[in-house]
């Protein structure tokens, strides 16, 4: 039977089910329930949980352990993920898998503890020095947080690339009724790990690295796009939203549809690679795209505009940016009406 679970606890338990053997992290609100939960749960399972001295140390512990092939992860929130970027850059440089959870809070600097999506551009563009990408998965419910976490180690190992679960403060704090999958372990062995014998680890000479990076990320972008399209078939205006704003946007679609408005929703599940294919499916009746996001200045909207360009959808792209809150259903419907009646100016 389904039980009520808090988002952060659920994602931590899902990691255990997925075969995570080692966690290293540092407390920061609103993700602290993850290390708290694991500091009790992992010893119970005979696994290792280390409270590191800082975020950087935690990410290098993960680098070291995953070099040896151990399923392991770290988690943090906005400012802490900034500190981890150096290590993430190294992990990508070495084609290592890793799993990171970012329970986002609002703002630059210390910011606030409010729910937000203000880390979108940093996390989908790599975030550290050098040219690389992190695969970013964005659940919009606690069940989906579990399901994506359960897959994330497999994805990270398949592509030898870090996977981030991008959560939000409210998604980490809220509770929903969920079910957990069975405990599993990796199937088969990784043949490149460090085991002391100095066997090949798949390192490339510098002269081949640029081409290899392009090939790798092009391949992931091509084959790993995920999204959910909702009532888009005949939609004239399409909302684009992920995470919690996608839930209020979906409600807005239903309410507006009930009043005869032709609206739909594209919900990216992979933020990188961005699901451009979702936009290819849109018909010629589309008159506008509306990015609904918990940011201040608009971040997701850049990818929406790029996807539209790629798919030759030459329509205005509008943005509803709710900053440190989640746009309410009513606000989204009102924004739509303003767009439709020409009272809103497009961003792109």
């Amino acid at each position: 039977m389904k039980k009520m679970w808090k988002g952060n606890h659920a994602i931590a338990e899902a990691a255990m089910r997925a075969g995570c053997k080692f966690y290293a992290g540092y407390p920061i609100t609103p993700q602290t329930e993850i290390p708290e939960y694991l500091s009790a749960r992992m010893p119970e399972l005979g696994r290792t949980c280390i409270q590191a001295e800082n975020e950087m140390s935690a990410v290098y512990m993960i680098l070291g352990a995953y070099s040896c092939g151990m399923r392991c992860m770290t988690s943090s929130s906005g400012p802490g993920i900034s500190l981890k970027q150096e290590g993430l850059s190294y992990i990508c440089a070495y084609y290592l898998p890793a799993v990171i959870v970012n329970v986002q809070r609002w703002g630059p600097g210390l910011g606030t503890l409010d729910s937000a999506q203000t880390d979108y551009l940093r996390d989908t563009r790599g975030g550290g020095n050098g040219d690389y990408r992190v695969i970013v998965l964005a659940p919009n419910s606690i069940q989906e947080s579990i399901d994506l976490m359960y897959e994330s180690f497999d994805i990270a190992e398949k592509y030898r690339n870090p996977v981030e679960i991008m959560s939000e403060a409210a998604l980490g704090q809220m509770m929903e009724a969920v079910e957990f999958p069975e405990f599993k372990d990796r199937e088969g062995e990784l043949d490149w790990t460090y085991d002391g014998t100095n066997r090949p680890h798949g390192k490339l000479p510098d002269s081949e690295k640029s081409a290899a990076a392009l090939a790798k990320y092009t391949k992931i972008a091509e084959e790993f796009q995920r999204w959910e399209s909702y009532r888009t078939e005949d939609a004239e205006y399409v909302f684009v939203a992920f995470g919690l704003p996608s839930r209020t946007s979906r409600n807005a679609v239903d309410q507006l549809r009930a009043n005869g408005e032709k609206v739909g929703l594209i919900r990216p599940i992979t933020l990188w690679p961005f699901p451009i294919k979702a936009f290819e499916e849109l018909g010629p009746q589309v008159k506008g795209l509306i990015s609904v996001e918990s940011t201040d200045t608009g971040q997701l909207i850049e990818d929406v505009a790029l996807a539209a360009k790629k798919c030759k959808i030459d329509v205005p792209v509008y943005g509803l940016f709710s900053g440190l809150s989640i746009s309410k259903t009513k606000a989204i419907s009102e924004f739509y009406r303003e767009v439709k009646s020409g009272q809103r100016k497009e961003v792109y």
Binding site: P30, A169, Q173, M174, M175, K330
Partner: protein, 176 residues
């Protein structure tokens, strides 16, 4: 259905939400529970939002409230999100009966703490409020509510308070 329990930290408003969420789950609904967290927690302000329905639930935070339980004065600020025809349960031990509330809603005033003390359960004011809102709204019957609540506390290892909590629930139920 959107229910908000609001008050000061320590008045049990998070627990109230969890108990009612369990009732909705028992009836096979989709349920979300969200606590006030972070900055909202400072200054002792606390609330929890419970939403349940058969379909897909949207955002977990307050949008259009069906039932608001105000355990203290500041919680009345959320009445601006209360739907027309909604239900407002006011803890009259903390909010004076002289405080005028002009709303197109059903307003019931319950001395939650006084009633809780009457059944020797001074920490059960939040349970009294649940009893009152259930009776008034008719969303769950008394026996289901009692059973779910008891199960909730037993799972938390607080089974020894079962009798006192049931008494508080009954007291609230009978108060309206």
């Amino acid at each position: 259905m959107e229910i908000v329990f609001a008050g000061f930290g320590g008045q049990g408003v998070l627990t109230s939400g969890l108990i009612v969420a369990e009732m909705a789950l028992e009836e096979g609904k989709n349920v979300t529970w969200m606590p006030a967290y972070g900055p909202t927690m400072r200054g002792g302000k606390a609330y929890s939002v419970v939403k349940y329905m058969d379909g897909v639930i949207g955002g977990p935070d307050m949008e259009e409230i069906d039932i608001l339980v105000a355990m203290n004065g500041p919680s009345l600020e959320y009445t601006e999100l209360l739907k027309d025809g909604g239900l407002l349960v006011v803890n009259s031990d903390a909010i004076s009966d002289d405080e005028e509330i002009h709303l197109n809603a059903d307003v019931v005033r319950v001395p939650c703490l006084t009633l809780a003390k009457e059944v020797s359960n001074p920490k059960g004011a939040n349970i009294v409020a649940i009893g009152a809102l259930l009776k008034r709204s008719g969303i769950f019957d008394f026996e289901t509510a009692k059973e779910v609540m008891t199960g909730y506390f037993e799972e938390k290892g607080k089974g020894k308070y079962t009798e006192a909590n049931e008494a508080a629930l009954k007291k609230g139920w009978e108060s309206v």
